[in-house]
Amino acid sequence: MRIPIETFQLDNGLFVTLSPDRTAPIIAVNIWYHVGSANEKPGRTGFAHLFEHMLFQGSKNVGSNEHFELIQRAGGTLNGSTWLERTNYFETVPSNHLALVLWLEADRMGALLPAMTQEKLDTQRDVVKNERRWSVDNQPYGTWWEKLPALTYPEWHPFHHSLIGSMEDLSAASLEDVQEFFTCYYTPDNAVLSIAGDIDAGETTQLVQKYFGGISRGQERPALAPMDLPATFGSRLHRTVEDEVSLPRLYLAFRSPVFGSDEYYAASTCSAILGMKRGSRLHKSLVRERQIATDASSFTFDLTQGADLLVTDVTARPEVTPGQLEKEVEAQIAALLDDGVKEGELERAIALIETDMIAAMQSASERADRLSMFATYFRNPELLNEQAERYRSVTVEQVNAFVREHLIEENRASLLFVPAVKTDASVKSEAVGQ
């Protein structure tokens, strides 16, 4: 199965991918800016994400909150998201509204700053602080998102710090920061535009040229700090966190080859063998057979620079201690190192990955997002059509080579959440604190 893909680039550097599919009268428009939390300056953690919120606050010809309203009035859905290496913005609308979406995206790419005010920044800062409370601070295990990268990337590394940011840094963000970030990173030559769905390629090319053609190319962007890292941690890393949780949970992470590399496919397959769905090694052994866990899964971060992370995530049964949990998970990793993976496990993993990939291609929004991803990271959206084959060609030997090199003791980082113990002493110290 191949989806049709066309690409072209405007003179100002905007890279465009088109993927027509006329089954239903809808289109997905998706922009990736090649900037994420890794690009933040010291003292401004969380800024890339706060900035994402500001992109919905209007631009030269678009009023505050009008972006949302115009898309919804058109019968469309929209959002944006921020990640370590990129920020994306996306809309899915009835296909007769294509020009509106391109106009809106072009207006904020070309002329965001005239609409920026201190008041809007202050409100969005409060919204983001509440987002942090909601998704991180007030969620059991919610801080794993920032604690795991902090544990596994050295302090100098751009992936080390928190993506959602600290309350202190969010408070410090200024309008000047907004201006500087926009001018530096939100330029056509640092962006990829993908359009999938009910389009005519020729007409769409003209519309893209019409709305985005006049936007100026950016200046040179500051280079990221060096990203390179050794292939493994080199020693055992460990952190225990007391949290408002009922059950212990272990995030056991391994440094792993970057997304898109040849070795990545072995790593990603290994992750599926370990923790994709209920028939995976960890789920089958720890949840079904040994019955010491309520849930077990694994995944990769899919980072393209320096090193990626493979993470396993296992939650204990109530009667299981944190120490036992850790021992049980380690024993499964040791068994994998001793025995290696079997052909049947590989086939199971590839079959599941294949179904997921094809099912995802049903959605125009998913197609556009993945095209943007491959275009942003590798300048090659055709990679989307090669993924199934890349996975199918992974061999047992490749996975086992990955296991031998990366699941070793010196390449493990444990982030262990344990239920906070409420002693009389801690109650007293709280009372004193007030």
């Binding site: 009268p25 309203e69 009835p94 296909s95 509440n130 409370r133 909601w134 007030n138 059991p140 199971r348």
Partner: protein, 451 residues
């Protein structure tokens, strides 16, 4: 870049995927919707085995029965079912709802035949092995501990318990509590299965890269011999506990935020004013650009998001406004929400607000049905709510026909300010004093509990 706003070109026609209905000789209903874009098929069984058919004290039986189906049959043990499915790149997802139980799987067309053999085995010949049922119960008990520690889930559950009378099944969590789940036995599951899983109470839905003939051949070869059982009556009590306003605070000391739920018992899904209600709710709190979200989030920065919804069930599900705010502004956020509810009932919305909601709802309609899974779920809703077969074909016109007067009438008729209930999960020391002055009667304060 240009200051000139583009105008839309004429829309291209869209219709909801065509589907066909058939009935097998044993009473099993079949719906087939060919959608041949990609080589993929979704199979879904809607079974009349809902949580409202549980007896009192057996809460969680429907859910446990549904997830235990795949834990062993006469032909395969639980691990084999799991492994056979995953080797085919799929797994059978099971679960119970207030109004039904559902089994579904999505897989590549070329693997449909062996996949469906597995699916029908699980649906028609489960054995409910004791050791697997006991494991699932233990997992559910652990899940209960997780819910008690998680403010969002805790608030949703506490709200249901505070709003519905104890006789209503809706007052208890869908999947039961520790106390009810631990009393369930293999026998209870077998009894619930044989009473509720039968060809008469089941609709098989197949969507994707398949013709009606292929689907019927596939289904009849494995499901023709399935025998019927006896039907059971459902608990239809959906009454509200208090006829006047009430409020409750669940004290959670370390909470960084307060979860707020505000609302009352709503109405059953089958209501002649369904479309005006949907549009009214979109303006009130259904859309990002709704009044409540714009007020609480974009005007005041109190929250990351606030929304309202009618939880549609066969019987009267709740109407709820849901948000999480900084603990210091709980009182202010509730007052702003009440103001928006009053405003909705006092004067008609503007034409601009109406057209925003109706053009949104009509426009996103095709976007909702891009996948075989989404189409299958939509067809399942037809079955569960006994909607006419042309419901989806008429949806967009029915939405566009709603007027500002209809919306005002819907708000007055279906949002009852005198019956509103509030539940907050948050730190007592900051929240209690903010709630006490609210005109909602006495504030009851309690700890999160599990029984």
């Amino acid at each position: 870049m240009t200051a000139v706003r583009p105008v839309p070109v004429p829309p291209r026609e869209y219709h909801f995927p065509r589907f066909e209905r058939l009935t097998l000789s044993n009473g099993l209903r079949i719906i087939v919707a060919p959608a041949r874009k990609l080589p993929i098929v979704t199979v879904l069984a809607v079974v009349d085995a809902p949580a409202v058919k549980e007896s009192s004290g057996e809460e969680g039986l429907a859910e446990l029965t549904a997830v235990a189906l795949r834990e062993g049959t006469k032909l395969r043990n639980g691990s084999e079912i799991l492994e056979d499915g995953e080797r085919l790149g799929t797994s059978i997802e099971c679960g119970a709802d207030w109004d039904r139980s559902i089994l579904s799987m999505t897989l590549l067309k070329e693997r449909l035949e062996p996949g469906f053999a597995l699916f029908s085995d699980v649906l028609t010949a489960p054995e409910f092995p004791t050791h697997e049922v006991e494991r699932l119960k233990a997992e559910r008990v652990a899940e209960r501990l997780q819910i008690i520690a998680e403010p969002r889930g805790l608030a949703d559950e506490a709200f249901s318990r505070f709003v519905y009378s104890p006789e209503s099944r809706y007052s208890e969590p869908l999947a039961g509590r520790t106390g009810s789940v631990t009393t369930l036995t293999t026998d209870s599951l077998r009894r619930f299965y044989s009473a509720n899983y039968s060809p008469f109470g089941t609709t098989m839905i197949i969507v994707g890269d398949i013709s009606t003939d292929e689907a019927v051949t596939l289904l009849s070869s494995s499901l023709d011999g399935w025998k019927a059982g006896d039907a059971v009556r459902a608990n239809v009590n959906a009454s509200q506990l208090r006829s006047s306003r009430g409020m409750e605070l669940i004290a959670k000391a370390e909470a960084a935020q307060a979860e707020i739920r505000l609302g009352h018992v709503g109405i059953p899904r089958k209501n002649p004013d369904y479309f005006p209600i949907v549009v009214m709710n979109s303006v009130l709190g259904g859309l990002f650009s709704s009044r409540i979200n714009l007020n609480l989030r974009e005007k005041h920065g109190y929250t990351y998001g606030a929304s309202s919804y009618f939880d549609w069930r066969r019987n009267a599900g709740p109407f709820v406004v849901s948000t999480a705010v900084q603990s210091e502004v709980v009182g202010a956020a509730i007052r702003e929400t009440l103001t928006e509810i009053d405003r909705m009932r006092e004067e008609a919305i503007s034409e601009e607000e109406l057209s925003l909601a109706t053009s949104y709802l009509a426009g996103v309609f095709p976007i909702r049905y891009e996948t075989t899974g989404a189409i299958a779920s939509a067809l399942a809703a037809l079955e569960v709510f006994e909607l006419p077969d042309d419901f989806y074909d008429g949806y967009r016109d029915a939405i566009r026909a709603v007027s500002t007067t209809d919306v005002l009438e819907a708000a007055r008729k279906y949002v009852d300010v005198n019956r509103l209930q509030i539940v907050v999960v948050g730190p007592k020391e900051t929240v209690e004093s903010q709630m006490e002055p609210l005109p909602f009667g006495d504030l009851s304060v309690r700890e999160p509990i599990e029984s």
